[in-house]
Structure formats: structure tokens, C-alpha cells
Amino acid sequence: MDLTLPKEYELLRQMIRDVMENEFAPVAEEADEKAEVPMEAIRTAAKAGLLGIPFPQEYGGSGAGELGYVILMEEVSRVDSAIATVIGAHIGIAAMAIYVDGSPALKEKYLTPLARGEKIGAFCLTEPGAGSDAAAIKTRAVRSNGNWVINGTKIYISNGPFADLFSVLAVTNPALGARGGVTAFVVEKEMGPKVGVIEKKLGIRASATSEIIFDEVEVPAANIIGQEGLGFVTFMKTLDLGRVTVGAASLGGAQKALEMVLDYARLAEKYGMPLAHQQQVQFMIADMYSWIEMLRGLVYRTAWLVDNKRPFAREAYVCKLMGSEIASRVVSYAMEIHGALGLSRDYPLERAFRDARIAEIFEGTNEIQRIIIARDLLREVGVHIEP
């Protein structure tokens, strides 16, 4: 069992860290304050290939696989979790949906510009009545003159306000529902989806989230991802992959919080001695580190499962569940240790605290993750629970 990171991945990590620290860190606070995506830095990142790390080079990616993607999300989140949301929505779900089930022609046409970062993608699943309950979507696609016409409203769409391409799930046969009646499409901005209300958010403010409204949007049949009727499967496979990297992003955020704590505990004095000398603080530091290392092992092992074509869905759920909860706990410990400074808008911990919360919610809430993990385990002992 060789657990050393191959050298190309070490250099990849170094490059990503350089890009993040030189291009994103200096603008992170302002981007959060103004709730603006730092587009110039995103373009620099795209030039270095950051928007296509996992995809094969024939489609404009870096060919670094899930392992590269995990490293990307860890390093991005270490500097700015909001950017991890932008990149995660773009690579991890929007482009990934095309990658997992798209035809070679569809990949050539849409995955390539996405992976090169020439176009930005968004993943349109959630609707007012269908969040983690993805099967309940109402958006309809109806055949018309060989094309499909889509109507409906998607909400909480990351990258929605500025995306060029949308991976969209719509009902094509209401009678069949999620089992054969739902289809995934690639929709170009030029085909007419409209940006609705832009959300004002508590955290990940340097990412943009909005409604996307489909009003008689006509899409060629060639833009179906995979097969007609099997869109639900495509989207679920995509989300399984996405969950691994939610764990990776949480890892990066938690790591950063621990680094800040170590730095602060060394310097700050309370009751005449450095915080670092206080046992209560030491306990917290030890716990934070232990959780982070546990998560690191889990995330990298799951990436290995993906890259080696082993089953990974259950591990992916655990990555998302434990990652988000560990990150929240670590950041909250960090807040406790920093005291009032932790709440200051001038100090990046406050931002990290707000940013951490989302990971427990998106890509399927943690409650849903728990239910799925439990039912998956129970199925092995013969207990079948229908949704």
C-alpha cells in the first residue's frame, strides 16, 4: 500500500496554492464584502487549468482525475471556500454531468470549453419544491419539432448569474417520474434561460447564487446528456462524485482554521500566559487536528476508489457528511479560541465561520446523507426501506 502522493500531484498542489495565495487571497475579503465573484482571478485560474483539473486532456482538462480534483478543492478552500463553491459547481456538477454520461460529440462541444474555463457552468437541479428530494422536480421538457421546450424555475443555482452553460434536469414523461421520465439537458445561455432573483447570502458571498427561469426555452435533441429518461441517474452519479469534493473543500477550510488557531494561540496572552499554555486550548487543538487527519484519510481514500473504478458512493456520502460537520466544528472551536477577534469582520475567521455552514446543507443536506448511509447499510442485512 503506497500512500505517497505522486510528484506530479505535489507540483499540482504547489501550483494551485500559488494561484490561490497570489491571486485570490488578496481579494477575498473585498469579494466577500461586496458579494462579487472575483472574475479576474477566476480567469487567471482558468489559464492555469484550474477549471478542468479532473477531466481528460482530450476534452481540455488536466487529466488529473479525482485525486487532482480533491487536491484542487482542498487548496482552493484553504484560501477561500466561496471560490470552492464556484469551482465545485462548475467542475464538480455542471461539467461532471456531461463528463459522466454525455456522448463524445456532446463532450467535445460542451465539456471542452468548460474544462478550458472559456465557459462557466451551472447545475440546475433544485426547485422550490424539490431540493434534497430531487425526484420531485416539476420543470417540464416537451418535444416540439424535433427539439425540446423547457419550462420551469430552478432555485439556489450556484454560478447562475454568470454561467454560460447549464446542466438541467427536467421531466420528460410525468407518468414515469424519476424512473425513466426525467432527462438531463445541456442548455446554452443563448437559448434563453433567464437569471431570476439573486440570493443575498450569509456565507460563500464571493460565489453567486440565483434563480434560473426557463420560459419556453428551446433546446436541440442533441443536447440531451446520456439517454432520454435517464437524467435522474446521470444527476445522482454526478452528485456522488461531487460529494467527495465537498469533503475535500471542508478539509481545506478546517486546515486553515487550525493554522490560524496555532498562530493565534502562540501569540495571544490571557491571564498572563500565552493561550497555547492553557490546557483547555491544547485539548481543543488536539481534537481539531485529529478530526482533520481523520477526514484527510477518508477523502483521499475515496478519491483513490473513484480513480481506480471501485464502488465509492457510500464513502462519498461519509465524506460530505463528516467533512461538513468536522469543518463546522473546527471553525467553531477556532472562534471560541479567538474570542472577540473571531467575530471581527477584519479577520478571515469570521468569513470562514459563515462559509462553513453551507457545506452541511448543499449537495443534499446532512440529514439526507444520514438516511441514505443508514438505508444502504440496512439493505445489506435485508432491511429494505422505500423512500
Binding site: D263, Y264, L267, A268, E269, L341, S344, D346, Y347
Partner: protein, 339 residues
């Protein structure tokens, strides 16, 4: 006191058959005056010569070289000066060195020397130390020993030369300019080397870059204690450093208190919530010294604190402190820098 007359009476103490002897300094006059850095090297060469029992000779070159400047070098401590107005070709400089056989050959680590010394050393495959900040002699080996900062100055490398001629370049500003003695006597000789045409120098405006606070060499930070003195004093101190050390990036910054007072923009704040700087020299003026502020400057190689309150915590973290009013100490610093 100048004791060189003793050496002249006694004569050189070392003289091998075809041996290398004496210390030579290469001085360059681009314009018709001597450079301070060359005089500093000359002064140090005199010190070294006394421990070797050797003469100090100089080779004066450059378009501005003249017999008058050669005599000036005598006044500053050279025993013999060879001069020629021009810039020698590499082979002809090597030939000169091979004929005169200097045991030690010193250059200022400045324009000219930086190019000439390594090229000469490479031609002769001889010992070379560059950027020396201190030099001495190991008398047993008659070896030049030089200290050179490494790793950004966190350590020094002590280099001992083993092959003659021993060549070194010495950083400007390390040693004082020796005293001028107009009554000193010595020989002046005009030499004819093979000169190479020098293209006219075309000075240009230095390229202007925005230097982030993190990359500044000298950071001058003001705190709430600057209230009575006025913020402009910091700018003046920065300007004085920039005048004296044009190669260093000097920046002015503020503590959180100064930012809250509106004296400086938050973009220039040194604090745990602002920039965390790592300059060579950090001067905290009127800064009390909270740990939040110390977090921003702890990586400085040297911290200087100026504060009227001797109990200010900043003094605990500072390498050097001056207890006094900023409005008195800062102008005194500017004066000391400019003199």
C-alpha cells in the same frame, strides 16, 4: 595614526621567488571623481595590509581616471597607484594581474566590480568571494577570510581563500571611508592597458513597481502615539531612508489605532488582521505594542521601537528601543541618516 612609513622602512616582510604579494584595490571612476565604495575598500585594504606586512596598491580605471584622482587615492591610503583612463578588456586586465601578482585583489561590490571580479576569477580559475560584509586575514595561511550573508542574512558563510590571487568584492557601506591625508606620499604610474570602447551610458527612470508591504525591506509604522508629532514625520523618515539606501524598498504603515484615527488607509495596516510583514528593519514609532500588532511584525529581522513610555510592551519585543518623544527622536534619526 598612519604607520605606513614604518612598513616602508622595514620593507615588505613576505617576498617569495615569483610570489604573489601585496594587496591591490581596483577603483573605478566612471566620472572624474572617486567613488565612496572604492575608498571604503581602500581603507579596509590598509587594515589587512598591516596584518600581512604588505603594501596597498591600487589600479584606477574608468573614463574619469586621471593622475589627479590617482594622487587622491594615495591621500586615502594607497602606496602606489597605477591608472589609465579607460575600461580594460578582460584579457588585458588578466595580463596586468599576472604581471603584478597581487596576493589579494579587492573590488567594491558595485558596478564594474560585480562584472569584472567574477570574469577575472573565471579566467584565472582562482579564489573569489563576492558580497563580503567583513574581511580579515588568517596570518598563518596568509589567507583572506571573508564573511558573506546567506539565506537572506539569517546566517553567514565564512570563506577562506586558498589560491592566489585571492579576489573579493566588498559590499558598499560596510566600512568607513578612511581619513584623507594630503601629505601621504606614494608612487603614481600611468599604465597602458588594452582599452575597450564603452558604449555611452544611458540612464533611465528606474522601472516603477508597486511593492506590496510584505516585500518592503524597511517598514516604518506609526501608532496612536504619533498624534502630537504628526504623521508626516513618518513619511519624512521613510524618505530619509530611501535617500540613503535607494536600493531598499521603504514603506510606511500604521497600527490598528492609527487606521482607526484615519491617519492611514487600512490597506497599510500591520496587525494580526492586516498585513504580516517581514522586512529587514521594522521601526515602530509611537506604538504601544499589543500582541495583535506584534503578530504583524514578528517576522522582521530587526525591530526598533521609539516610544515615550518606557513601560510600553513594544520594548519587550524590540531588538532596540529608544525611550523618548517621537517628535524629537524621528528628526534626530533623519539628521543621523542624512549626515
Amino acid at each position: 595614526m598612519d604607520l605606513s612609513f614604518l612598513e616602508q622602512l622595514l620593507g615588505p616582510t613576505v617576498e617569495e621567488e615569483e610570489g604573489y604579494r601585496n594587496i591591490w584595490v581596483v577603483a573605478i571612476a566612471w566620472e572624474p571623481h572617486l567613488r565612496e565604495c572604492d575608498l571604503q575598500v581602500l581603507g579596509k585594504a590598509r587594515d589587512l595590509a598591516s596584518s600581512l606586512g604588505a603594501y596597498v596598491n591600487a589600479l584606477l580605471i574608468g573614463e574619469g581616471a586621471s593622475e589627479e584622482l590617482a594622487r587622491e587615492l594615495i591621500a586615502y591610503g594607497a602606496d602606489r597607484v597605477c591608472w589609465g583612463a579607460g575600461y580594460p578588456t578582460g584579457p588585458s586586465l588578466m595580463e596586468f594581474v599576472q604581471q603584478r601578482k597581487p596576493e589579494i585583489l579587492l573590488f567594491a561590490d558595485a558596478a564594474g566590480g560585480r562584472k569584472m571580479a567574477p570574469r577575472l576569477a573565471q579566467r584565472m580559475k582562482t579564489a573569489l568571494v563576492t558580497h563580503a560584509v567583513d574581511v580579515s586575514i588568517n596570518p598563518e595561511e596568509r589567507a583572506l577570510v571573508a564573511a558573506v550573508p546567506i539565506y537572506n542574512g539569517i546566517a553567514y558563510r565564512v570563506v577562506e581563500c586558498k589560491v592566489n590571487p585571492q579576489i573579493a568584492t566588498i559590499q558598499p557601506g560596510v566600512f568607513p571611508v578612511p581619513e584623507r591625508d594630503p601629505w601621504r606620499s606614494g608612487e603614481v604610474e600611468e599604465v597602458e592597458l588594452e582599452w575597450k570602447p564603452q558604449p555611452p551610458l544611458m540612464p533611465v527612470e528606474p522601472p516603477h513597481y508597486y511593492i506590496p508591504l510584505e516585500k518592503a525591506d524597511i517598514v516604518i509604522t506609526g501608532g496612536r502615539g504619533m498624534r502630537d508629532a504628526g504623521w508626516h514625520l513618518l513619511e519624512e523618515l521613510a524618505a530619509a531612508f530611501a535617500r540613503k539606501y535607494p536600493q531598499k524598498a521603504v514603506a510606511v504603515a500604521g497600527t490598528r489605532g492609527a487606521v482607526d484615527e484615519g491617519w492611514i488607509d487600512r490597506k497599510h495596516m500591520v496587525d494580526i488582521t492586516g498585513h504580516r510583514v517581514a522586512p529587514t528593519l521594522y521601526i515602530a514609532c509611537g506604538v504601544r505594542g499589543t500582541f495583535q500588532h506584534f503578530a504583524g511584525c514578528e517576522k522582521a529581522r530587526c525591530i526598533v521601537a521609539i516610544n515615550h513610555n518606557p513601560d510600553a510592551p513594544i520594548f519587550k519585543h524590540a531588538d532596540f528601543g529608544i525611550v523618548g518623544k517621537v517628535e524629537e527622536v524621528i528628526p534626530a534619526l533623519i539628521e543621523a541618516l542624512d549626515s
